[in-house]
């Protein structure tokens, strides 16, 4: 019980720390997440993004800036909180708690970079092919696209973790039943 409470406290601290870091950071301080995202966007779109100190990653050809608000930190916090909650039932010891925290942090960072790459790539495509929907402005389309990609990313990440978690549980049950059968054979 104490371990689980400590896990919740540490998870809240990590989420709060990320949010504070994001609030106070300059774009250059977020290169740990903006850099990989910009490189992946470059790889998917073929556009070169160059780091502009104090601004972010800029594509001169497309006049497109990957700035601080594109970092995906809020997505990373949401994914991290969701994963800690989803894997909470696995925590029996301190080692389990550290594993859950580490795995959630790593998975949320990876997911944030990947999902953000998709979001920015789609946003670049949409800006190059503006839709003629009279009731939606370009900002509305960008917002709806962001919500769609982020929410779909969260759902996909959750499904993936649930499947991996169920697979691990099934393997553990198989190993336990195999060990039980072997010990029964030895006793007989």
């Amino acid at each position: 019980m104490k371990t689980r409470l400590a896990l919740v406290a540490i998870a809240i601290l990590i989420a709060w720390g990320l949010k504070r870091h994001y609030a106070d950071a300059q774009p250059d301080d977020l290169s740990w997440i903006l850099g990989p995202t910009a490189r992946l966007v470059s790889a998917t779109t073929g556009e070169a993004f160059v780091m502009q100190p104090g601004e972010g990653y800029f594509s001169r050809e497309r006049l497109f800036l990957i700035e601080k608000s594109c970092a995906g930190i809020n997505f990373m916090i949401a994914a991290f909180a969701m994963l800690v909650f989803a894997l909470f039932h696995r925590v029996e010891s301190r080692v389990d708690a550290m594993r859950v925290l580490g795995a959630s942090l790593l998975a949320s960072y990876t997911a944030a970079v990947l999902v953000n790459t998709v979001r920015i790539t789609v946003a670049m495509w949409l800006s190059a092919h503006p839709a003629t929907l009279s009731s939606f402005s370009a900002a509305d389309v960008h917002r709806i696209e962001g919500i769609t990609v982020y929410f779909a990313g969260l759902v996909l990440l959750y499904e993936l973790v649930q499947r991996l978690d169920l697979g691990t549980e099934a393997r553990s049950a198989k190993v336990a039943s195999g060990a039980g059968a072997r010990s029964a054979q030895v006793r007989s």
């Binding site: 997505f75 969701m82 709806i144 919500i147």
Partner: protein
């Protein structure tokens, strides 16, 4: 058919409850806690879009799944020939 759709929709909402809660917490609860409501109409507009889009996506996804399933079962089941 309709009943199956509603059952699937309820199942989809249960299944996506945690991602939905995490998304709403970060996009609505945290900004509200930080005083974003003071920005007035702009935040209300943003909040309405954030609140509406994910459930719409779930309904659309369920509708597409139902349509795909019904189409698939229609293809799999050949039309019955009359015995006369």
């Amino acid at each position: 058919m309709k009943r199956a759709f509603w059952t699937n929709l309820a199942h989809a909402f249960r299944r996506t409850a945690l991602p939905l809660a995490a998304y709403y917490a970060v996009t609505l609860a945290l900004p509200l806690a930080n005083g974003a409501a003071a920005s007035g109409a702009a935040f209300v507009r943003h909040a309405l879009v954030v609140l509406a889009v994910p459930p719409i996506l779930i309904v659309v996804a369920c509708g597409l799944c139902a349509a795909a399933n019904s189409g698939w079962s229609h293809i799999q089941r050949p039309p019955q020939q009359s015995s006369s």
